[in-house]
């Protein structure tokens, strides 16, 4: 969904790492990824859970990676409370338990119903309680000042059931076909395409800020 107040949709000073193994899907209005997702902590775990996932007293309180969805979204995608869901972006896919809750509900923005997915980010492959990591989903976009990754707002697809394999864009390429017309000079995945046209910096990173300094 486009920002109705301002033409420029993405932060022009953002950092991106444009490589074949790091695909981006459209930052807004991508029909392949129709649901908005956000990540957050739960009180039982500390940072990404690398320390707290070793403690059985905490693991029994939050035993498994889960995603939270509204009853409406659960009905739409056939998700069952306590069952499994696979959440994907173009970068990766994760499986998680489903927690259907009325705490989340669809937003109506500009007459369009937007469903939300809540994803805690405390699980990974080590510890006594393991699960898929939310960071498999998030796009590598960083803020221009201190390169903190944008992980709080992105769009995902949700399907019921467990994933067949751990697909990663880094291993198998983008998890979705490009939108028709997108590669032939159609609407770009993010705006400000001239940033992407510049030569990569030594670490393969490009930014609008770099571009400005180079031009100056």
């Amino acid at each position: 969904m486009k920002n109705p107040l301002y033409g420029q949709q993405c932060n022009p000073a953002r950092l991106e790492w444009i490589r074949r193994d790091n695909p981006y899907h459209k930052a807004w209005g991508d029909p392949r990824y129709p649901f908005i997702a956000t990540t957050y902590r739960v009180t039982e775990h500390h940072t990404a859970g690398g320390m707290s996932r070793w403690l059985p007293w905490l693991n029994e309180l939050q035993p498994e990676m889960f995603v939270e969805v509204s009853p409406e979204l659960a009905g739409l995608r056939g998700l069952e409370n306590g069952g499994w869901a696979t959440v994907s972006t173009i970068r990766g896919e994760i499986e998680a338990r489903v927690l259907v809750t009325e705490r989340l509900h669809p937003l109506v923005v500009q007459g369009q119903v937007l469903h939300q997915v809540g994803i805690p980010y405390h699980w990974s492959y080590v510890g006594r309680s393991t699960g898929d990591a939310a960071n498999e989903l998030t796009a590598f976009v960083a803020d221009p000042n201190v390169s903190i990754e944008e992980s709080k707002a992105f769009s995902v697809q949700v399907v019921a059931g467990r994933r067949a394999s751990r697909r990663r864009a880094a291993a198998v390429g983008p998890l979705a076909e490009p939108e028709p017309g997108q590669e032939q000079g159609g609407e770009p995945s993010r705006d400000l395409p001239q940033v992407q046209a510049k030569k990569p910096a030594p670490h393969g990173e490009r930014s609008g800020r770099q571009q400005q300094t180079e031009e100056a």
């Binding site: 029994e60 035993p63 306590g82």
Partner: protein
């Protein structure tokens, strides 16, 4: 010593579960295993022989007064614990004397005396006490008797970051609870109520040493609205049994007499 207990004010509970973990750590209780319940953030679900504090997360499609939400919805937290009833069913049912009333008025289970008969399990109107499968004995909250002995407050109350769990002499707690209830009512939280504070509130247990301030009906927290300690019924039960026996005797005599007249 004067009676000591908990006043658990659910209106300031933030659902951090620190009490649950602090209790397990101090009392060295094992984890019950990983089980994803799908019931809000509550994955331990109830008090157990190895879970002496339990934080319940309750989602209801119900608007409570004093709350502003986009749609009718309430998300309630309750840190549940053994209530240390003034009239304790477990204690009265215990045949070995393992359950005793301490000098702090709490109900304490002596594990070295308990023989694991399980009478207390069915005698508790709240379902608090239970037997451990691995050693067969019953276990429950001790109100941190060991900590109280050396002048410390129980581990859960010590760790509670919002003082939702408040520990102290029961008479002081009652004053505090009344003040808090008045304050909430003044702020428009009309459904707020105290649960089990006095014998008048809860004649079935003659009042609790660990009582609660709730924001909704007790049923919304899976608490019994009118718990009754089973042994309170004992007198009536014996009376009824006596009546029944008398009736049987009368009927037998009547039958013999009627038979004799033929």
């Amino acid at each position: 010593m004067e009676p000591h207990g908990f006043f658990t004010d659910t209106s300031v509970c933030i659902g951090c579960k620190a009490c649950e973990v602090a209790c397990k750590q101090w009392n060295q209780l094992p984890a019950d295993g990983a089980y994803f319940s799908g019931r809000s953030y509550d994955n331990t679900l109830h008090l157990e022989s190895t879970t002496w504090r339990h934080v319940a997360f309750l989602e209801h499609s119900r608007q409570l007064s004093g709350q502003t939400t986009a749609r009718p919805f309430s998300w309630l937290f309750l840190s549940d614990v053994c209530k240390h009833c003034n009239r304790a069913g477990c204690l009265e049912a215990c045949p070995t004397g393992a359950l005793v009333r301490t000098e702090f008025a709490s109900v304490y289970l002596q594990p070295d005396v308990c023989n694991g008969c399980g009478y207390c399990v069915v005698a508790c109107p709240f379902g608090v006490i239970n037997r451990r499968e691995d050693d067969g004995r019953a276990w429950k909250c001790t109100l941190c008797y060991d900590r109280q002995k050396v002048g410390l407050e129980p581990a859960c109350a010590k760790t509670c970051p919002t003082d939702s769990i408040f520990f102290g002499p029961v008479e002081e707690l009652k004053v505090r609870a009344q003040a808090r209830l008045l304050e909430l009512h003044r702020k428009g939280v009309h459904e707020a109520r105290l649960y089990g504070m006095t014998e008048l509130d809860q004649p079935g247990t003659e009042g609790l040493n660990a009582f609660f301030l709730l924001l909704d009906r007790p049923e919304a927290y899976n608490l019994p609205p009118e718990p009754r300690v089973p042994t309170k019924e004992a007198g009536r039960a014996w009376g009824m049994m006596g009546l029944a026996a008398l009736g049987m005797v009368a009927a037998a005599i009547a039958a013999v007499r009627a038979g004799g007249e033929e």
